[in-house]
Symmetry: C2
Subunit: 344 residues, 2 copies
Amino acid sequence: MEAVQISPTSGKGLNLEILFSTAERWKLLPTPEMRLVALTEAMLLKGARDYLMENGFIEIVAPHITKATGACENIATMFELSYFGQRAYLSQTGQLYLEAMAMFLGKVWTVIQSFRAEPVADDRHLAEFTLIELEFLGGLEELLSHIEGIITRMVREALKLEDEYRRAGVDVGRLYEVKPPFERITYTEAVELLSDMGVRWGDDLKSVHEKAIVERLGGRPVLVTHYPKEIKFFNMRENDENPEIVNSVDLLLPFSGEAVGGAEREYRYERLLKRLLESQMLKMLIERGGSVEDFDWYLNIYKTFGGRLHSGCGIGLNRVTQFVLGLSDIRGTTIFPLNRESLM
Amino acid sequence: MEAVQISPTSGKGLNLEILFSTAERWKLLPTPEMRLVALTEAMLLKGARDYLMENGFIEIVAPHITKATGACENIATMFELSYFGQRAYLSQTGQLYLEAMAMFLGKVWTVIQSFRAEPVADDRHLAEFTLIELEFLGGLEELLSHIEGIITRMVREALKLEDEYRRAGVDVGRLYEVKPPFERITYTEAVELLSDMGVRWGDDLKSVHEKAIVERLGGRPVLVTHYPKEIKFFNMRENDENPEIVNSVDLLLPFSGEAVGGAEREYRYERLLKRLLESQMLKMLIERGGSVEDFDWYLNIYKTFGGRLHSGCGIGLNRVTQFVLGLSDIRGTTIFPLNRESLM
């Protein structure tokens, strides 16, 4: 397939680039540009919820002040706070809480705010963003299908703004092309695809690599599966045939790159414990003064009640908004974007 | 009207009281009691969203790490954190952010997590809870109607669990009685109603008083309007005829007491600034080391773009859940309740 050059929203009618600035954000609130972003976020959230509820997922409320069980693999970016004198964190993911309930309710979802103390204010990261998370009893194939389904539904819902998008100069045709099945490649295939860029097996994919994968596969959403175990979250389930990889998936989108991350989860207590104790994440947590005991409640569930194969993912709303609107900067994807330079 | 004694859910089928304990919460996750609470929360959230979307409200995402503009009147309970070296707070309300956008979008809503560093772990307060907030261009009468509408819709949605409620021993008849118009009294009338309890005009109503009001008015939801200005949030709009009171409303529910708080908002810049500068809240903020400058962005909007009459409210989801399930303890209203003794 031919590499496709993706050009950002032209701004024929509106200039969405005014939203890339966080300085004096309040001045931008009355603009039609801000209105379009607000409506887009609302439609995307509605599309996601409609998909989840129609597919039998039950909404649960996950805590936002947590023990270390609210951390994702990127533990260096956790915000800490004193919680009545006790060390606590701001949630980065509700995954472990969803996992616990998926085992008893079957299919669950939540929308949380995910907090990341990103060291630099750039066009790719926010310090707080909206994360749509789902978890269910089942495996990777079903997960891929849910990701295709929910993203398609979100984009379809946003397309109710088609007339406004056309007036604003947003490329609507690109959005109509979003439908299952998405392009799928394995991480190993992706590394081959990027051999001219010096990517080696075992490396994490940087944003420039994600961009190249998307462009080289036609400029549409791409599901990249089966990443190396070493660079992923401790409880991603090992592939039965090749324990060096996990049954994981990242969804890459034009403009924004990784918008969804998910996987099958390890559910056998002994292995889970071993994976946790050997994880880079735990090492970093302990270096920061955190404690493995934070994981007791989570491990106790598997130890006491047993586990069943389950899978889930988190969808970064702002990355989807960025894709839909064709924005080169994530600061333009929400009304009140937070990074180290902006707080309102 | 005769005083009605309200008895808690009998627990014929299920014992919902097991959920009042936060110790080893993980052990409770597989129980049918927890399942019923989870489903109830999900239904109540869906009912609220359906009402808001059908009535033309637009969802916006409000920040959860904020300046002091994320504080409610109870500023002593703000969680603080270091935000890249800067003082920041965890949101208690998205109200001021919603107000800003209501002025430009007309009708907006959000669901946030509200954080309160409640000094004691008791049966009435959580340190983190779900808050459904709405804001629109319009006045108190319309607000009362929206509160009646959304609460009725939430309860109707929960009643889809009627069969499960009956099996669990939840009094369903009480829920069918929830419909507009709700009982309405003014704060001044409430004080008269409670004269035998030593309540004087100007006092805030304590939970025992809220309970007595509900019982003495028939054991159903009661809207209490027009509180004294002194004890309420700085931007609640003064009543035109009596500037000692504000055009505010609290909704009191059986079992849980105050479940909704709302008001018309002051929208004239000079008055708003004056009210802020004279407020008890600001005094407390500055004593804590906070800054009035945190309100600059918010004041700038009124100063620069002008304001229009708008109103809004926040609905404490857990208080509604407590009412629906007939629980005597708010710790039973959600899967992962947080207070100073519990963190997961």
